[in-house]
C-alpha cells in the first residue's frame, strides 16, 4: 500500500514536472531575462525596454529547414514565389529536398540563403516568431560571463575579429559556435540573422525627407544618427539590415526563432 502511494506520488510528480518543464522552457530555447539597453539607431538615447522572452539556442540548421520544406511544399526551391525569395534561395541545395553534395558537412550548420519571408514562415510554423531587432541586439550584448558586455573591451575586440574573418567554405555546426551568458550559441561569429522588424531602423541623414533611403542610408551623414559608434559590430549589423529587402537571400544570412512569454 505504502509502495503504491509512493509510486503514485512519483508518477504524479513526474508527469507534472514534465508539463511544468515544457511550459517554462520549450526544447532548445532559453529564457532571455528582460531589461533595458540603448540601441544603436536614431538620435535619441532613450533606453529601450525588452521584455523577457524565449530564444532558440541555435540558429536553424539545414536539416531542420529540410524538414520544414518537406512539410510545407510552398517553401521548396522550385515552388517559392520570387516576391518571397529571390533566385539564390537555398542556392547550395541541389534539389527541393536535397541539401547538396556537402550535406554531411553542413547538415548541422546554419541554413543560409533564406529570405525574411521564408524565415518568418518557418518560425510561425513552429509556433514561434522571429526576434525583433531590439530583442536580438539585447541578447547579443552578452559575453560568456556577462549579460551586458558592452563595456568589455576584450569581448568587443574579439567580436570585431570574428566579423573581420572571411566566411569559411563550410559553416561550422551550430553546436560548435560561441555560447553566451544566456546559453545562446552563435550570436556572434557564425552567421548574420534575420529579425522581424529589420526594416525599422530609421537611421537616415535627413529624417524629414526620408527619401531614397537605399542610397542615403549609410552614405555621408548616415552614421551621425548612430548612438554608440564604438560598438562597430552592432553598427555593421544595423547597416547590413538596412540594406536588405525581404526577398533577399544571402550566403551568410540565416535566422533563429523567438517566442514571447
Amino acid at each position: 500500500m505504502m509502495l503504491h502511494r509512493l509510486l503514485l506520488f512519483v508518477l504524479l510528480v513526474g508527469v507534472c514536472g514534465n508539463v511544468q518543464a515544457q511550459k517554462s522552457l520549450p526544447k532548445n530555447m532559453v529564457n532571455v531575462k528582460g531589461g533595458t539597453f540603448v540601441p544603436l539607431y536614431g538620435n535619441d538615447s532613450i533606453p529601450v525596454k525588452v521584455k523577457t522572452f524565449l530564444m532558440d539556442v541555435y540558429p536553424v540548421t539545414n536539416t531542420e529547414y529540410l524538414a520544414f520544406v518537406n512539410k510545407y511544399p510552398k517553401w521548396r526551391k522550385s515552388a517559392v514565389k520570387k516576391i518571397f525569395a529571390d533566385e539564390s534561395y537555398l542556392k547550395n541545395w541541389t534539389a527541393d529536398l536535397n541539401i547538396g553534395p556537402n550535406a554531411a558537412k553542413i547538415q548541422n550548420s546554419p541554413v543560409v540563403n533564406v529570405s525574411w519571408f521564408s524565415a518568418k514562415a518557418y518560425c510561425e510554423c513552429q509556433g514561434k516568431r522571429l526576434a525583433t531587432v531590439e530583442e536580438w541586439e539585447y541578447a547579443a550584448l552578452a559575453s560568456e560571463t556577462k549579460a551586458n558586455a558592452a563595456n568589455d573591451d576584450k569581448f568587443y575586440q574579439r567580436s570585431i575579429e570574428w566579423y573581420s574573418k572571411p566566411n569559411p567554405t563550410y559553416l561550422p555546426p551550430v553546436k560548435e559556435s560561441f555560447r553566451n551568458y544566456y546559453g545562446l550559441h552563435g550570436m556572434i561569429g557564425l552567421v548574420w540573422e534575420w529579425t522581424q522588424n529589420f526594416n525599422s531602423a530609421m537611421v537616415v541623414g535627413e529624417s524629414r525627407a526620408d527619401v531614397t533611403m537605399d542610397r542615403q542610408l549609410f552614405c555621408g551623414s548616415g552614421s551621425d544618427g548612430a548612438k554608440d559608434v564604438k560598438n562597430y559590430v552592432a553598427f555593421m549589423r544595423y547597416a547590413f539590415r538596412s540594406s536588405l529587402k525581404a526577398n533577399y537571400t544571402v550566403a551568410n544570412l540565416g535566422f533563429r526563432c523567438a517566442k514571447s512569454i
Binding site: 514565389k81 516576391i83 525599422s200 525627407a209 531614397t212
Partner: protein, 208 residues
C-alpha cells in the same frame, strides 16, 4: 479590446502563413475569378497580391489584396493621428488624382494602408476618408494586424518604426501597381513633382 489584440494576431498568424493544407487552392480559384476581370490568366511571381493576408477596409469588410487586382493602384502608408507627413502624402495623392481626370474610376484606384492598426480601426479610417473628402469609388483604406502590415510594408520598401506615444517614424513612398499588382514605379519623399508618376500611370492605362 487590448487583450484581444495579441490573440487576434496569433490567430491571424496561424491562419495566414502556416497552413499545411493548401489554402492556395481557394485563393487560386479566387484569383482566377479576379484575373478574368483583369483579363490576365495568372498573377506574376512578383505580384504583391501573392500575399494571402486578410484586411479590413473602411467599411469594415474583410478583403484580400488580390481584390485590388484589375486596376492600376496607387498605394501609400499613413496613419490617421499623423500630423505632419501623412496629410501631405494624402495631398500628394490628390494632386496625382487631379491629373487622372481623363480616366474612369474603374481604371485607377488609390489605397491607403495604416501603420497604426491599434488606433486605426475601420471606423477611424472611414472618418478619415470623410474628413479628407476621399471619393469612396476611388479610395480604399486598409488595416490589418501588425504582422500583415509589416509584410506589405517590406514589399513596398517602407521603413517605419513605431516609437510609441502615437508617433511613428516612417518613409514616405507612393507606389504605383499595375493591374496585376506588380510594383512599376515609386515616388519617394513629400511634395514631389507628380509628373513622372502620372506619366507612368498614363502608360499603364494605355496598355490595358
Amino acid at each position: 479590446m487590448k487583450y484581444l489584440l495579441p490573440l487576434s494576431i496569433l490567430l491571424g498568424l496561424t491562419l495566414s502563413s502556416c497552413s499545411e493544407t493548401n489554402t492556395t487552392d481557394a485563393l487560386a480559384a479566387h484569383q482566377s475569378a479576379q484575373a478574368t476581370i483583369a483579363g490576365n490568366t495568372e498573377l506574376s511571381e512578383m505580384s504583391l497580391y501573392n500575399l494571402e493576408s486578410e484586411w479590413q477596409n473602411e467599411d469594415d469588410e474583410t478583403v484580400k489584396l488580390v481584390q485590388l487586382n484589375g486596376k492600376v493602384q496607387l498605394v501609400a502608408m499613413m496613419y490617421t493621428n499623423c500630423t505632419y507627413a501623412c496629410p501631405r502624402i494624402v495631398a500628394d495623392l490628390k494632386r496625382i488624382e487631379a491629373k487622372l481626370d481623363n480616366y474612369k474610376k474603374e481604371d485607377v484606384g488609390i489605397v491607403l494602408v495604416t501603420m497604426d492598426p491599434e488606433n486605426d480601426t475601420p471606423e477611424k479610417l472611414q472618418q478619415f476618408a470623410t474628413d479628407n473628402n476621399l471619393d469612396p469609388d476611388r479610395w480604399t483604406l486598409l488595416t490589418s494586424d501588425e504582422m500583415n502590415i509589416q509584410e506589405l510594408a517590406v514589399l513596398l520598401n517602407m521603413k517605419y518604426k513605431n516609437g510609441g506615444k502615437g508617433e511613428i517614424a516612417h518613409s514616405n513612398i507612393i507606389t504605383v501597381l499595375n493591374a496585376g499588382g506588380e510594383i512599376i514605379h515609386q515616388q519617394e519623399g513629400l511634395g514631389k513633382d507628380p509628373d513622372e508618376t502620372v506619366k507612368t500611370i498614363d502608360g499603364l492605362l494605355r496598355s490595358i
